[in-house]
Amino acid sequence: VAPAAEPGVGIRLTVNGVGHDIVVAPDRVLLDVLRDDLGLVGTKEGCAVGVCGLCSILVDGVLLTACLLPAVKVDGRAVTTIEGLAGPDGALSPVQAAFIDHGGFQCGICTPGQVVAATALLAETPEPDEDEVREWMTGNLCRCTGYYGIVQAVLAAAGRNGPIAIRPPIEEAAPATPATDRGSATHQP
């Protein structure tokens, strides 16, 4: 077996607009770089196996999983974390503001990941319907089960204001008013 050389790999990345040159081991994940090297602890570690969504981040605008992402993969790329969503003056992003306005959290541990995931959704689909929101946000668990407020906050951030309906438990129990398209029956105008 050939001996492995110096394990460190030099990479250059920007995080929330700030450039960094760092040296990482090939299997070091971005989550640890963000939290331990850069002090950006808004990105949380939950399951550490890619399921829970607490470590959701954006790389060149694409929603990824920091606990499963070798840091070497972001060499030359732009990373956005929850700390990078507010404006330079501290003004909250529309998604952040909507989560506050609509109570899109309970204990708060999953909130950074929820907000980052919702930001990615609205960048790709600016006006999602409720089904699209629920499907996209499947990757972000809330152990407090605060999903009602989360879905409402995302819809509000997309400009779809008004309360959403609690879904009937059985599909046949849909409201008498016929739906014109998927999910529309559950939205107030």
Partner: protein, 299 residues
């Protein structure tokens, strides 16, 4: 010879040289979802990492002559799911891949990594098996194409040798009249691995008999399982009178599930029977345009 702990080649030839130099100890990195987990859980040594992320063109999704597809190994699952070309030529493949885990994982995980990982609970293998897909493998002595049927050897094990690289997945076009579907049984959550999954294809002739058939299952053995005995029973049958009970019996002969958090051995066998039957009945009913795929439905 000193081997770099991390290499980022820009060509496949260069990547193979890195694998050779590492004497079989190197690991290929594509999206990183599987590699990170397997290393963290101690399934892999801490050998050098060869990152395929900068190999030019390896993530391309291209049309193949005759209506097929050639999908580069580092194409992400999300890129395949949203590709207009894949949605046009193999819609059931786009739909099935769109049901893997969550969008966050599909943005990162690649098809090549998914197949090379050889986790028998994954969604792409059964549907690719019934599509007669082939793997294009680059190695020291050149490139070869192998049927995906035979690619999987055991849990986390394929025919790929330590200096081989899966570079492309070829998906041929289907005969007119093909009906194809995938059932993923998810009793727990929408982003889970299947308790059992079933893919089937019926090539229906003008007289509404089955001219050709494919049947494959996931999560029921150490590898994805194709069931030739079931296919032989279906071939020649009338669409209106498929021998579902006999096919189910052939499936039960071919599978060997383990009991885990997604169900006991007995439960998985029972569900393999139920979902095989449901899928065949759905395909027999489907009366869409020729070559249209059915949706990949859950429970």
């Amino acid at each position: 010879v000193t081997v770099a702990a991390y290499a980022r080649p820009t060509t496949i030839e260069e990547a193979i040289r890195e694998l050779v130099a590492a004497d079989g100890e190197a690991h290929l990195l594509a999206g990183g979802t599987s590699l990170t987990l397997l290393r963290r859980q101690g399934f892999l040594g801490d050998g050098p990492v060869v990152d395929l992320g900068r190999v030019a063109g390896l993530d391309r999704i291209e049309p193949a002559p005759g209506g097929g597809l050639a999908i580069g190994a580092t194409a992400t699952l999300r890129a395949i799911e949203t590709s207009a070309l894949v949605r046009e030529r193999a819609p059931v493949l786009a739909e099935t891949i769109g049901r893997v885990a969550t969008v966050r994982i599909r943005n990162q995980a690649t098809l090549g990594g998914n197949l090379a990982h050889a986790d028998p609970a994954q969604d792409p293998p059964p549907i690719l098996l019934v599509l007669d897909a082939e793997a294009e493998v680059a190695g020291v002595t050149g490139t070869r194409r192998v049927s995906l049927d035979g690619f999987f050897v055991d849990v986390f094990e394929t025919i790929l040798g330590p200096t081989d690289i899966l570079v492309r997945i070829h998906v041929p076009s289907l005969p007119p009249g093909s009906r194809i579907g995938y059932e993923k049984f998810l009793p727990r959550t929408a982003d889970d691995y299947a308790t059992v999954s079933v893919a089937a294809r019926l090539d229906v002739a003008a007289d509404r008999t089955v001219a050709g058939a494919r049947l494959a299952l996931g999560s029921v053995a150490a590898t994805p399982v194709r069931v030739p005995a079931a296919e032989a029973l279906l071939e020649g049958a009338r669409l209106a009178d498929l021998p579902v009970e006999a096919v189910v019996a052939a499936v039960l002969d071919a599978i060997d599930p383990i009991g885990d958090v997604r169900g006991s051995v007995e439960y998985k066998r029972a569900m393999a029977a139920v979902w095989t039957g449901r899928l065949l009945r759905r395909l027999a009913r489907a009366d869409g345009p020729a070559n249209a795929s059915s949706e990949a439905t859950g429970q």
